[in-house]
Amino acid sequence: MADPMRIRAQLKDGGITEVRVLMAHIMETGQRKDSAGNVIPAHHIQTVTATWNGKTVLSAQFGPAVSQNPVMNFSFKGGAKGDKVVVSWTDTKGDKRSDEAVIA
């Protein structure tokens, strides 16, 4: 199981909730070689989904070109303080991780 994500969800002026996510992941591209010259197989996050109160607000697909420990910022309308934002991802090895944050 991968390390937890860090999620911050903040209610801004105008009823917009700003969400910032930091995922802990190696994001190996499949392009690099180890010291013996063998290609290190790709291992990266493929899909990311964010839900607010059970409703999907953002879904994303990541390629290997997203940096290690990916950061994702987005915002949506309609959140209220105390609401739950859940972010989950799936990677190329089928690993999954889901974490939640409360809108502040």
Binding site: T49, V57, L58, S59, F74, G78
Partner: protein, 158 residues
């Protein structure tokens, strides 16, 4: 038993699993980008902007001044280049970030759902100085904006 297995091998070879998959895609049996849960492998394997657009189901992209790419002009470390894209085009459905000179062009694709602001940010790897394209899908059409980012230290390989 051996003969049966042998025939099966032949059948598999002549059938050509690749041909079957290709036929399925062209026949529209396999949705190319119907669900966000599906990873659009063709788009992430594509090398150029046009190939990515094709893999996403579009053709040509129109240049647009309503897409704003927020990224540094010069990135010191190509492994971590912050890129944010905001679209002022109404009904923005998705935002994609492409790095032209990376081994595969497409870095990330974000589906913008109703109620979600057309403004996303992430960090990408860049192998070398390159144009970065932001492709926005809005109302079934594709729009693109481009910004050149110079990289002093590459983020791929090494």
């Amino acid at each position: 038993m051996t003969t049966i297995n042998h025939k099966r091998r032949v059948a598999l070879k002549s059938g050509g699993s690749l041909a079957v998959i290709t036929a399925a895609i062209s026949a529209g049996v396999l949705p190319v980008n119907a669900f966000a849960a599906d990873w659009n492998k063709a788009a992430f394997d594509a090398k150029t902007l046009n190939d990515v657009l094709k893999a996403m189901g579009g053709s040509a992209a129109e240049k647009s001044g309503d897409i704003v790419i927020t990224a540094p002009d010069i990135a010191e470390n190509g492994a971590v280049v912050p890129v944010a894209v905001a679209s002022k085009i109404p009904n923005t459905q998705s935002i994609s970030i492409l790095v032209e000179k990376n081994p595969s062009s497409l870095a990330a694709e974000f589906d913008i759902l109703p109620g979600t602001e057309a403004n996303v940010g992430t960090r990408v790897k860049m192998g070398q100085s390159s144009n970065v394209h932001a492709v926005v899908k809005a109302g079934g059409k594709y729009y693109v904006a481009t910004k050149e980012i110079k990289v002093t230290l590459g983020g791929c390989g090494g």
